[in-house]
């Protein structure tokens, strides 16, 4: 049923604004592929190019090696969830969902069955005879979702399909999408602003910035081993430190500006003395007797953990960071700290990431460049 | 007239292109008449003709201008057979659109009204008149053109644009000859004064004049006899005045359209319309004067002898039509 998607050197311009300069990706057959990136980076645009709604200023789009630049959208057997829902205001919820099946001349019984099922899945059965204008935002969004999934397309394109749903519902919808997707084997391209979501459901994630792909990788890889500072800071929080590569007796390591050293065996061989940028996530610190001295500037409760915003010596950290954070797991934490208190932090050597000084390139072993 | 339309299977309207349109066809049982005359005017005559000849007559009614234009445009494939109406001076320039035919009753026609040109069979005789609303006229006395210059009448005179209405054009001619004592060009200084008294008001159609006077929108109107007579007969508060300075009386006509599809019937109709009985009906029922020697004017109409009948120089008039119209127009625009 489904097929792989190939994009070669795609270019997109609006007027004289170039939104996508030169983009290439390979999406595997049946894969759940997520586009993640700051607002305005070109996610929707790319999606619409794959769908066939945007003119293509350059490059080659293909389904299963077959170039589709010239194939009209309706012949591509895609399903699409639009960022603005785009549900038909003149049709009831049910009619909206049936729409695609009717076109496929599906046999009545089977159609009813399938529509009922999907309506149940997205929990809007009870509204099936309402007109969209009488639905809440989230309900509308679920109609759009159902309408796209129900036709079991080869390629499912979703533009923030869950952005208006609450966490609980979102998790349910997620797995619903996931199930259909797996069982029918739909190649899915998913746009979201929600990292947790991306991390949770994607087979692979592509992180975009300004129309350029920064990294394509499995969720875990993306989070633990970002290719560059942008990715590391965009996905999850990363505290950025100045560092210098130093030679220790037991291998090489990095030294922070306050003198603290951490020796790493994950580094590619970098000549000692090179300046680097070190990225440490809030949870990659541990409390200890010695290490980096930190003062609690602010604390935010975030459910299962507390985030402390820290004061550190200016010269240690890269300028322009909104905050330096240390997160403490609440499940087990024995002692909580108050604003003003101080403690020592030790980075977890196996976790932290080291980048070239300009932050463009990771210096961690086997972080490959085939993105 | 419309009543007849349901039947007539082979009615010109559905003429299909294969047939050669211009071929004369004697077998046809119907006749299409283009006619601007009022229904109650047409009906008696037409129904009479239908009963006599068993020919279905279909009347296409519209303004004289529209009908003339139709005849002109349809020249290649005429849909009408007869054009019935329009004063001579209107039709003369378009004579070539019409078939030569001299009616069977030609000898009975007054000498003034003989068909010398070929296509132009005279139908009735129509003097120009002034129409006066007796409710509004008060004690203002109107005997003729001269009185129309009275300041009391300023802006209360209904005159149609001569370039739009034939009856009004006839009046212009009438004016020029009456006030110029036979020399049209002399008449213009009157026209000049007269136009001033119109006070920038100029109606855009013959009917607007008599209707306007009858409705009391205007006090005096310059129109043709039958136009006003009708209202007199219907008992409207109006009376007719025959200009003391002189009245020109012109006939209007009835003509066969070139290549008429029902040529035979057309001719038959012309013969009928000029026949004594038809003309009598016209005089008795339709407030018009006959063109025949043997049919006197209706009793209630001022006999022609009592009017100051004058004549224009036909060719000169035809020759000057446009110059005069433009001149009138220019004078009017200047005020």
């Amino acid at each position: 049923m489904s097929n792989s998607i190939g994009v070669k050197n795609a270019v997109k311009r609006f007027g004289d604004v170039t939104v996508i300069p030169d983009l290439s990706i390979e999406i595997k057959n049946g894969e759940f592929f997520t586009l993640l990136g700051p607002s305005g980076c070109g996610k929707t645009t790319l999606l619409r190019m794959i769908a066939g709604f945007n003119s293509i200023e350059g490059g080659e789009f293909s389904f299963d090696e077959k170039v589709i630049n010239e194939i009209p959208a309706h012949k591509r057997n895609i399903g699409m969830v639009f960022q603005n829902y785009a549900i038909f205001p003149h049709l009831t919820v049910r009619q909206n969902v049936e729409y695609g099946l009717k076109i496929r001349k599906m046999e009545k019984k089977a159609m009813e069955k399938r529509v009922d099922d999907i309506l149940d899945v997205v929990k809007i059965k009870e509204y099936q005879d309402r007109l969209p204008e009488h639905l809440s935002g989230g309900q509308q969004q679920r109609v759009a979702l159902a309408r796209a999934i129900v036709i079991h397309p080869n390629v499912l394109l979703m533009d923030e399909p869950l952005s208006n749903l609450d966490a609980k519902l979102r998790i349910e919808m997620r797995s619903a999408i996931r199930d259909v997707q797996k069982q029918v084997g739909i190649t899915t391209v998913y746009v979201t602003h929600d990292q947790e979501e991306a991390l949770a459901i994607s087979d692979r994630i592509a992180v975009m910035k300004g129309g350029i792909i920064q990294q394509v990788d499995a969720p875990e890889k993306i989070y633990t081993r970002p290719y560059n500072v942008f990715v590391s800071t965009f996905i999850g929080h990363s505290n950025l430190f100045h560092g210098i590569v130093v030679k220790e007796e037991d291998g090489i390591g990095v030294q922070f500006m306050d003198g603290t050293k951490t020796c790493l065996n994950t580094l590619t061989d970098v000549t000692p003395g090179t300046k680097v940028t070190v990225g440490i996530r809030p949870e990659e610190f541990g409390l200890s007797e010695t290490g980096i001295l930190a003062r609690v500037k602010n604390k935010t409760f975030l459910g299962r953990y507390i985030v402390y915003e820290l004061d550190l010596p200016e010269d240690m950290i890269l300028p322009g960071q909104s905050s330096i954070e240390f997160s403490q797991d609440l499940g087990q934490a024995e002692k909580l700290y108050e604003v003003g208190e101080t403690f020592f932090l030790r980075p977890n050597p196996s976790k932290i990431n080291v980048f070239t000084e300009d932050g463009e390139k990771s210096l961690i072993k086997d972080v490959r460049w085939d993105g | 007239a419309c009543g007849t339309k349901e039947e007539a299977p082979k009615e010109p309207g559905n003429e299909n292109p294969v047939e050669t349109p211009n071929e004369e066809d004697k077998e046809t049982k119907n006749l299409v008449i283009y006619c601007p005359h009022p229904l109650e005017f047409i009906n008696p005559l037409v129904s009479e003709f239908e009963t006599q000849s068993g020919i279905k007559v279909e009347v296409i009614a519209a303004g004289t201008g529209e009908l003339l234009k139709r005849v002109e445009s349809e020249a290649a494939n005429p849909l009408g057979d007869i054009f019935w109406g329009g004063s001579l001076s209107t039709v003369k320039p378009l004579m070539n659109l019409f078939e030569d035919y001299t009616s069977a009753n030609e000898d009975a026609v007054q000498d003034d009204f003989k068909n010398t040109e070929g296509p132009l069979t005279r139908f009735t005789d129509i003097p120009s008149v002034l129409m006066i609303n007796t409710n509004l006229i008060g004690d203002v006395e109107v005997k003729g053109y001269e009185d129309l210059l009275k300041p009391e009448l300023k802006g209360k005179i209904a005159m149609a644009d001569p370039s739009k209405s034939s009856s009004s054009y006839e009046h212009l001619i009438n004016m020029l000859y009456a006030m110029g004592e036979g020399d049209a060009e002399k008449g213009w200084d009157y026209v000049d004064k007269f136009i001033q008294n119109l006070d920038g008001k100029l109606l855009s159609g013959s009917s607007a004049v008599y209707k306007g006077v009858a409705d009391g929108e205007y006090v005096v109107g310059l129109t043709f006899e039958e136009g006003g007579a009708k209202y007199v007969a219907d008992g409207a508060p109006v009376e007719l005045v025959y200009m003391e300075e002189g009245v020109i009386s012109k006939p209007d006509g009835i003509y066969i359209i070139n290549g008429a599809k029902n040529m035979a019937n057309a001719k038959a109709f012309i013969d009928f319309i000029t026949s004594k009985e038809a003309q009598t009906i016209i005089v008795e029922k339709l407030n018009r004067r006959s063109v025949r020697k043997d049919v006197p004017a209706p009793s209630y109409m001022m006999p022609k002898e009592d009017m100051n009948i004058i004549y224009d120089e036909e060719d000169y008039v035809v020759a000057n039509k446009n110059t005069w119209l433009e001149k009138f127009n220019d004078i009017f625009t200047d005020y």
Binding site: F53, I56, H74 | G3, E15, E58, S163, K201, L202
Partner: protein, 550 residues
């Protein structure tokens, strides 16, 4: 790519349309325009006609007059129509349905009759005039001349704006208005800062319609002009006055008219394109209850306007029951007029509606396609088509009628005397109404709707019919109603083209009018009005719409 995608279908449509147009618009009009540059006698090329026009004060004055009347009428129509539409959409007004019907009725004042009833009312011896004179001793300004024409035209034309605006207001998303309120904006301010801009495209479209309608109308100035000459009257006379004028000169004037309007049209198009934006409305505006004096004021205003504009119709109906003696009305009432016309009624009615229905169907289809092409598939060709559609609209109907007659009265294509030629005339003359409103509403439908349909596997064609078309309907229909009404009242072209068995109601009315038998004319007119209203009500029953204007 979006373009390439549906290349085949839409270019097919374009092709068909181009064919239709070249045959029934370009070809006839071209021959007309060409004759404008011909010397009537020698047929040689000449600018005579134009020089004549521009050299003579008389004609220039006509041009000036036309402009004065037209522009003012357009403005007034907008100032009355748009607010009216807003009030009736945004607020609960008692008897809304009735109002809509009345407004529509006021639109179908048959030629001449409408203006004539104004003479009966406000003429020098008109009912109102004499009443005021006798009771208050005041002389009202007469209905004749500039003022009168302005009044009559405005009242006749504001409903167009009303209908169009109403159609669009239904598409405005309520949350936009709420947004402006949440920002502390209300009342007039809100209207000018949000609502006005949103409906500007429509108002411009409607304005253009009114402009052209006023520019082309000659019935009214004919009757109450009294020397206040306007362009169409000129053309009419030069072309068809019984005194016969110069056809080529008439053509020249027509050309000038067309030029003027083309300019207006292009201007309007340009502005609309600049102002265009898409809105997808999920929550239409809900009518609110007005409170206190505002409520009263609104009702009074609305009912007053509607009342005034319905007067002519009322008069017509009234006079149709008046007793007559020959050509003049006398005291007392009778059904005489009706009896007179009764026998000759059947045919015209059948014709009117037969032709009407066929024409309107064609119109709706064409309009939808053309408007879609010109808004979503912009190209020079489509633009040309768009502009072309407006030409027949501004050439006085009779002139158009004659050009058609001349063009199709000879081999290879003889249409003269057939029903087809009348239908053609209807379509080309009355399409602009539907076309304009369709275009206007398309500007407000978000393309993503159609994309959604396509993403579900609909071919662009299907998705057009199943989604875009349906969402267009409100606009299309509000325009179609206008087309319908004006078709039913179409006279000036049909009077040239009709034959015995293609006679329509308005032709019958007209023939009564030129015979100065206004009683019967009024009777016919009343019946026409009645049947029209019935047809509309029927339509709304069928289409299941609650309100008249959609």
């Amino acid at each position: 790519m979006a373009k390439k995608r549906s290349f085949t279908f839409w270019s097919g449509v374009t092709l068909v349309i181009v064919l239709i147009f070249t045959l029934f618009i370009v070809y006839p009009l071209l021959s007309l325009f060409v004759s404008a540059f011909r010397d009537p006698e020698t047929q040689a090329f000449t600018l005579e006609n134009f020089m004549k026009f521009f050299s003579k004060k008389y004609y220039m004055r006509a041009l000036g007059n036309s402009f004065k009347v037209t522009t003012l009428t357009t403005l007034l129509a907008v100032f009355i129509g748009a607010p009216l539409a807003y009030l009736t959409t945004a607020f609960k007004i008692k008897g809304k349905g009735l109002l809509d019907i009345l407004i529509i009725i006021s639109m179908l004042s048959p030629p001449f009759i409408g203006a004539y009833s104004w003479v009966l009312l406000a003429g020098r011896s008109g009912v109102i005039t004499t009443f005021v004179r006798n009771t208050f001793g005041i002389e009202l300004g007469s209905i004749y001349g500039f003022g009168g024409i302005l009044l009559v035209l405005t009242l006749k034309l504001y409903p167009y704006i009303y209908m169009y605006t109403k159609g669009t207001l239904k598409k405005v998303d309520a949350s936009l208005i709420e947004a402006s309120e949440s920002l502390g904006c209300s009342g007039i301010k809100k209207i000018f800062t949000v609502i006005m801009p949103l409906i500007t495209p429509t108002i411009l479209a409607g304005g253009l319609i009114v402009f052209m309608n006023a520019l082309a109308d000659f019935g009214t100035p004919m009757l109450i002009g009294e020397g206040f000459v306007v362009m169409p009257v000129l053309i009419y006379n030069e072309f068809i006055s019984e005194m016969g004028g110069s056809a080529s000169f008439a053509a020249a004037i027509a050309v000038i008219l067309v030029m003027v309007t083309s300019v207006m049209f292009v201007l309007q198009k340009y502005v609309v394109n600049k102002k265009s934006f898409t809105m997808s409305s999920l929550r239409p505006i809900q009518a609110k209850e007005l409170k206190g004096w505002k409520n009263i004021a609104a009702h009074v205003l609305i009912y007053f306007i509607v009342f005034v504009s319905i007067i002519p119709q009322a008069t017509v109906i009234y006079t149709s029951f008046k007793a007559t003696s020959g050509a003049i009305f006398v005291k007392g009432f009778s059904l005489e007029s009706y009896r007179k016309i009764f026998t000759s009624l059947g045919g015209p009615i059948v014709n009117t509606y037969k032709f009407g229905v066929i024409a309107i169907v064609i119109i709706v289809l064409l309009s939808m396609f053309i408007s879609y092409l010109t808004t979503r598939r912009k190209s020079t060709l489509t633009n040309i088509i768009d502009t072309l559609t407006m030409f027949p609209y501004i050439i006085p109907g009779s002139v158009l009628g004659i050009t058609l007659l001349i063009s199709f009265n000879d081999k290879p294509l003889i249409l003269s005397g057939t029903s087809l030629i009348i239908i053609v005339a209807f379509v080309v003359r009355r399409m602009p109404y539907t076309l304009r409103s369709s275009a206007a509403i398309l500007y407000q439908i978000s393309p993503s709707m159609e994309e959604a349909a396509v993403s579900l596997g609909d071919s662009p064609v299907k998705s057009f019919f199943k989604v875009t078309a349906i969402m267009m309907l409100p606009g299309v229909l509000s325009g179609a109603i206008l087309s319908w009404i004006t078709i039913i009242n179409e006279l000036s072209a049909s009077v040239i083209l009709y034959t015995g068995d293609t006679r329509t109601m308005s032709v019958s009315i007209y023939t009564e009018v030129i015979r100065a038998s206004y009683g019967t004319a009024a009777a016919l007119a009343s019946i026409l009005t009645l049947t029209t209203v019935v047809s509309l009500l029927l339509f709304f029953k069928v289409s299941g719409k609650k309100e008249i204007s959609l």
